[in-house]
Amino acid sequence: MPEVPVDVAIVGAGPAGVAAGIGAREAGAKEVLVLERDWDLGGILQQCIHPGFGLRTFKEELTGPEFMHRWIERAHGAGVRFSTNTMVFSMDDDGSLWTMNPHRGIEHVVPKAVVLAMGCRERPAGAIKLTGTRGAGIYTAGTAQRFVNMEGLLPGKRVVILGSGDIGLIMARRMIWEGAEVEGVYEIMPWAGGLRRNVAQCLDDFHIPFHLEHAVLSTHGRDRLEGVTVAKIDAQRRPVEGTERYVPCDTLLLAVGLIPENELSRMAGVAIHPGTGGPVVNQFLQTSKPQIFAAGNVVIVYDLADNVSDEGMRAGRNAALYAAGDLPCGGRRFEIKGGKAVRLFSPQWITDGGDATVFFRVVRPFECRCKVFADHGLFSQTHRYARPGEMNEVHLSARDLRSLDPGVTSLTVDVEEV
């Protein structure tokens, strides 16, 4: 098989991968190759034609394709090479990649460092143990989004949405705009899965009923979906008797969670964190394999593309430094721990070799003033609220880390009411 040596190889050309390419080039890597299995660059943002992207990075409101366009232009300018229509079959434990492309056939890409930027996929109906019939008309929200926004095809006319992840909320509004009726959004938790702003702009503004602590119990209709049974559920997630209701609909969209896509990572023996479903990383986005880095939703599912591309830049830069033998290693090591209010977090460990940001989600909403902090007085910030649908950040400086007592080996991040 032909061998393709590069300095940094990046798997995936979504917001994480494209930014990683730029980061790697700007940090001095010569040959930076981004491998993308789709025909076009941009990843899932190609189909996210709604506005709301780039408020942090570009200080203006862009659509997904516009946001990606800016990053892609910058990547071209920086000398990043892209290979689209290129499937990465497998990754060996040295980080080398087996790829396939219609023009070049199968190649063995051998990089000095790799950035994994495969993003995430949607949880299917089978994973949430949805019961009932399996007729046409049951889609994940992202699949429906592709049909509507990319293919110009309408999945249905009367829609029920299960789960309130951001794509589900966005699709509720989109289906209304396309002339469909959205009967309601049903969420098993007592709070929204997605961003508050999406609940306001996609549901409230269109008077779409939002039913918290409700489940879709079963689907009906053998050929095409004809309806669903919904019910209120109790704290044990059991249906509350007498609250079952039949809702006629021809479409059920699922927005019930995203799973980091780590099949390649597992093949190479990269350690996966059971909480996030992504690789265990340090603040340099370095996985358990020192030459393999990871960034974006493949690590932990973010709310904002800005976070993803920021992380991509950092991972790309660090991969380039690693390839050149310049990445700081060693130093004091600290395990990160989540406090009582923390559901999942990343990175899982850091060193005092550089500043670090820890991202985490809370287990329940704090609808009051609360303190987001790391122990040993390293960081504390007061917020007006903390919500499961919105990522929290804790910033730690290398200087503060170096000044900690020699006995300190772990750091806890948490949220408390104030």
């Binding site: 098989m1 299995r37 229509n85 499937m87 079959f89 087996w98 396939m100 492309n101 219609p102 023009h103 056939g105 199968i106 996929r121 949607e122 299917p124 109906a125 089978g126 994973a127 143990k129 019961t131 009932g132 019939t133 399996r134 007729g135 046409a136 008309g137 889609y139 994940t140 992202g142 699949t143 592709r146 049909f147 509507v148 990319m150 293919e151 110009g152 095809l153 309408l154 999945p155 249905g156 006319k157 396309e178 002339g179 119990l217 079963s218 689907t219 009906h220 053998r222 050929d223 095409r224 021809d250 597992r266």
Partner: protein
């Protein structure tokens, strides 16, 4: 409207009809397979565990007991010739108590009488040495080395495909409404269907859950199908290698119980339940059923991670009231043959039943059809290339010949565009049939990524609008139209 003249009409294109069609294609006969479904396999042949039973379960003297072990053997003879996936992984019936152990002895004895080779009872710790994930509470297990598993979609498609290559005609969306008889009702003439009249001197009832209705069309009320639903889970392939074979609990009066099996493609399959119901086509899953499946599976293999299910489904067993297969030619009307009541182990028995019915036609219906060999018949066929199973070198060669092999459509199962185009060429018309032919959409994302691409390819290859593509035929359209269709119509009107 007459659709044609044939020698044999097979009503039902499930595993029973498919294996018979393939055996008959070795003879110089005009054979048609009629099925009311929009894609095949449908019904019980589509939704089952894919298991090749060894043959110890059935009471000696029953028709099931007679054909199960020979059917199992026949699959092993045919699977390479017909290129469908068969895994001879063996099976265990697990005992949790003294009473269960006595039952294992009974099964072993039954198996010996049914001609099942190699049965052996092993203590629990021997089982756990071979299968470390087996429950610590299992005290002994009956090992059946001839137990196995097939990809049931591939098996049905392989038999049908080979039959079609040898001239058998397949008619989908063709529902039999009436059986045409001679005056006085003594002999069959043919059938009237939703797509016209098919004439033939021999009609075989292989209609699965609907074989009772087909029998009733000739006034035979003796076949009464009591549909029994079984629910299943399929898990992510990531945990498929937890076990090497498959596990049954000790059977009870309801059936073989909830099993844990490694599928032919490397997933885990958990199930089935066994619940009698009135409806012959209701394959909805239920919270109670799936809870029972999970509990039953965890009893055998406690370490199964419950969050790794990727889909669930239900199938209907076509059990006759006698709980046995109903095979034979009717005395009146002459020319009408039953292959009915095909419940478990029906998948396993089918190829042996097919050989039996060929003999039956030769011996009992020689006055109606003449069974001369078909000199052009070819007993082998190959499946659509399984790209995912090839080495890098083999893939490289293919891609150089045809770049469509480098277009991965289903990322989870590594299915290429070239395979899907070939599936359409061989008769796939729906998203589900593409899945059954190629596995596109059967992976961990369950078609989340590839469904729009498959719709696109089907529409392109079949010259239809994407919004006409169906999930599984009939009214199962995936899309209801185009976006902005209202405006497009208005513009067209103004232009």
């Amino acid at each position: 409207m007459t659709a044609g003249n044939y020698d044999v009409l097979i009503v039902g294109g499930g595993i029973t009809g498919a294996t018979l069609a393939r055996e008959l294609s070795a003879f110089d006969l005009r054979v048609a397979v009629l099925d009311k479904a929009g894609d095949l396999p449908s019904g019980a042949s589509r939704a089952n565990s894919g298991m090749l039973h060894a043959g110890y379960d059935d009471k000696p003297g029953t028709v099931k007991a007679r054909f199960c072990a020979p059917g199992n053997k026949r699959y092993r003879e045919l699977h390479e010739m017909l290129d469908f996936t068969l895994r001879p992984w063996g099976s265990y019936v697990c005992a949790f108590s003294e009473a269960d152990c006595r039952h294992l002895e009974k099964l072993k004895d039954q198996g010996a009488r049914n001609g099942v080779p190699g049965l052996d009872i092993v203590p629990g710790d021997v089982l756990r040495r071979r299968e470390p994930q087996a429950s610590p509470h299992i005290v002994a297990a009956l090992h059946a080395p001839t137990g196995g598993v097939v990809n049931n979609f591939e098996a049905v498609l392989a038999f049908l495909d080979n039959a079609q290559q040898n001239g058998v005609e397949l008619f989908l969306d063709t529902e039999v409404r009436r059986v045409l008889l001679t005056e006085g009702g003594g002999e069959v003439l043919g059938v009237e269907t939703s797509r016209g009249i098919f004439l033939a001197p021999v009609i075989v009832n292989a209609a699965g859950t609907h074989s009772g209705e087909i029998a009733a069309l000739v006034g035979d009320e003796s076949i009464q199908i009591r549909p029994t639903r079984g629910e299943y889970f399929i898990t992510d392939k990531a945990i498929g290698s937890m076990i090497k074979s498959f596990f049954f609990p000790c059977p009870d009066e309801r059936g073989k119980g909830v099993t844990v099996a490694r599928t032919a493609d490397g997933n885990l399959l958990l199930g089935p339940t066994s619940v009698r119901q009135g409806d012959k086509d209701d394959t909805a899953t239920t919270p109670q059923g799936l809870a029972e499946v999970m509990a039953g599976a965890l009893r055998l293999v406690p370490s199964i991670p419950q969050e790794l299910t990727i889909t669930s489904f239900a199938g209907i067993r076509a059990a006759d009231r006698t709980e046995d297969f109903r095979i034979g030619a009717l005395a009146r009307p002459r020319g009408f043959v039953h292959m009915a009541g095909i419940k478990s182990p029906g998948l396993t028995s089918a190829p042996a039943l097919a050989l039996h019915v060929v003999e039956l036609l030769r011996e009992e219906l020689a006055d109606r059809i003449s069974m001369k060999p078909n000199p052009h018949s070819i007993p082998e066929r190959t499946h659509i290339l399984r790209f995912a199973a090839l080495t890098m070198e083999e893939r490289q060669d293919l891609v150089r010949q045809n770049p469509a092999y480098a277009q991965i459509v289903c990322r989870c199962e590594t299915v290429t565009e070239a395979q899907i185009v070939e599936a359409v060429r061989r008769g796939a018309r729906t998203v589900a049939s593409v899945k059954m032919w190629t596995r596109a959409g059967s992976g961990r994302c369950q078609g989340g990524f590839c469904c729009p691409r498959v719709v696109d390819i089907l529409a392109r290859e079949l010259h239809m609008d994407p919004d006409e593509v169906t999930r599984h035929g009939g009214p199962s359209r995936l899309l209801v139209g185009h976006t902005k269709a209202f405006w497009q119509k208005r513009e067209a009107h103004h232009a």
